[in-house]
Amino acid sequence: MRREAILNAAIAIALLAVPLAAQAMGEPFVITLATKVAILALAGVGLNIALGLGGMVSLGHAAFFGIGGYAMAVLAAPVQAYEPLMTWPVEVAGTKSMPIIWLAATLAGGLAALAIGALSLRTSGVYFIMITLAFGQMLYYFAISWPAYGGEDGLSIYVRNGFPGLNTLEPLQFFALCYGVLMVALLFSRVLARSRFGLALAGARQNPLRSAALGIRPYSVKLTAFVISGAITGLAGALFADLNRFVSPAMLSWQTSGEIMVFVILGGVARLFGPVAGAALFILLEHWLGGFSEYWKLFLGLALLGIVLFARGGLIGTIAGREVAHD
């Protein structure tokens, strides 16, 4: 555990130090990459609550990620078109304010997770994987065929949304914001794992029968965790849409679900900083392999295969030891 704590601190400091150094050297692109890592890691932190703590192998988290992104677009698009968001029954204006958008994205992600989770958690194991995947695809096809927000082409939000007191158009300030959100989510995730709820969730994962006998309904505990997980991933989706100033159905595609899962597993399932390490490694690989081959995903696939087959426990597991702390 000590080694893992030191490693976590090192990762947190490195993720902060790299963009600061990039700023000093005048490399804004590196800041954008680091921002991407922080946002994708946040999506992974969300999935890790379902996957690592709750043992729910969801291959449909792109649904929540995309819903968060579209929540941003739905709120911000009317502002750039100088139209109200809705006129009936009361007139509501859109907004470019990040706190409101974040709240909406978190709620939307959570609500979607409630609906999808309530149905999917009736099953378990491989059924659960396939069903979450199928619900994700359902939303993907809906986004493609619904023309109001750009359909297949997606929708551009030309100016990044604002946060009180910050200039979000400045890459480093936007990074700091995303980094802050990631740290809060990590702290929340750690507190959650050690709370009574976290222990009940671990019980429901390890032995649902015993946990039911102790008076804890595994279904309710897991559904609650799934909703929290979807809400955090939804928030990450809103930030990701703000980073790109663009939403499209690609955010909802099942490849996105696969990638979020890859971050978590690459870093180490159920490790607090697993998603951060995984997302950082993924983006590094993407950037580095993409530099010398157009077919970098081939090598990414081979690397992933090697990691699954021979380096179990992910990056953090390999460096800090296999044992996962039980406290």
């Binding site: 059924y127 069903i131 199928a134 065929s145 597993i265 990414l300 696939g301 992933l304 295969l305 087959l309």
Partner: protein, 305 residues
């Protein structure tokens, strides 16, 4: 017009359904016997389509291409089983998902490397091109009718294989108790390779047959894979009968939904709005069907759960 158009759509749905069955049968067998979730099944569909398109282009014969698709997909399946999949049987589903996700990347990018990003085209064999007139005066493409026939014949063949042959007995025994049949002297790892290659060959065949109706391109397997998942969730994992019923149900629901929903909404909406709402709802219809089946029977229609 309506009745004839409806019959045509029903046939289209049936054709779609039997092709989904070819995909779903392999998935459900592999899951039933080996307990493995294989996301790379769609990659084998793509391998079959590419093998057929390139051999057909080189030799000019669709039928040689079809044979090549079976051979290539079965060989790819056997190689993947021997090198990667074999190590995953004892692992949890999470490792299986990640490893087979990685396999998709390898297959997709490998194919892009070999064939480039542009789609290949595969022509319907001349003997099967053109329409036939069905009783009642409906003109329907002969090729699609043949696909329905091939699909149903293969379904029959699979039922015979599983139910009546020695290999089928071993497969069923492998589903029930793998230690026991290993103790009875069946070479279980060879059986697994055979089952995996059989599933792969079916997927490859489906890819080649469908390839003549659409373009052959990288990534063509994944949408079909996900529909095949929906099929086996509806039918019940491990059940060939469930896969057949589920596939036809999904094929018909999807095709008829796309046809009927805009008409239905047109009854009380302006036409442009009806088309939009109808198309959006139609694209979600099979998932709604799946959710409905799960609410009533969480283990699928023919599942054991």
């Amino acid at each position: 017009m309506s009745a004839m158009l409806l019959i045509e759509q029903v046939l289209n749905g049936l054709q779609y359904g039997v092709m989904l069955f070819l995909m779903a049968a392999g998935l459900t067998l592999v899951f039933g016997v080996m307990g493995l979730i294989n996301l790379a099944h769609g990659a084998l569909f793509m391998v079959g389509a590419f093998a057929c398109a390139s051999v057909a282009a080189a030799t000019g014969s669709f039928w040689l291409g079809l044979a090549a698709s079976l051979a290539a997909a079965a060989a790819a399946g056997a190689i993947v089983e021997l090198t990667v999949i074999r190590r995953l049987y004892a692992r949890d589903h999470l490792d299986q998902v990640l490893a087979t996700f990685a396999l998709i990347l390898v297959f997709s990018e490998g194919t892009r490397w070999l064939f480039g990003s542009f789609p290949l085209y595969l022509d319907i064999p001349p003997a099967l091109a053109g329409p036939v007139t069905l009783p009642g005066g409906i003109d329907y493409p002969l090729y699609r009718l043949v696909l329905i026939g091939i699909g149903l014949a293969i379904a029959g063949g699979l039922f015979w294989l599983i139910g009546r042959t020695r290999l089928g007995i071993r497969i069923r025994a492998g589903e029930a108790d793998r230690e026991m049949i290993a103790a009875l002297g069946v070479d279980i790892s060879r059986l697994y390779t055979i089952v995996f290659a059989l599933g792969a060959a079916l997927a490859g065949l489906a890819g080649a047959l469908v390839g003549a109706l659409q373009s052959v391109q990288v990534g063509m397997g994944e949408p079909v894979l996900i529909l095949a998942f929906v099929v086996i969730v509806i039918g019940g994992i491990g059940s060939i009968k469930g896969a057949l019923v589920g596939a036809i149900l999904v094929g018909l629901t999807d095709t008829l939904g796309r046809f009927l929903l805009p008409v239905l909404f047109g009854a009380f909406m302006p036409p442009s709005q009806a088309t939009t709402v109808g198309a959006a709802l139609a694209s979600m219809l099979i998932y709604i069907l799946m959710a409905g089946v799960l609410v009533v029977r969480p283990g699928g229609l023919f599942g054991r759960a």
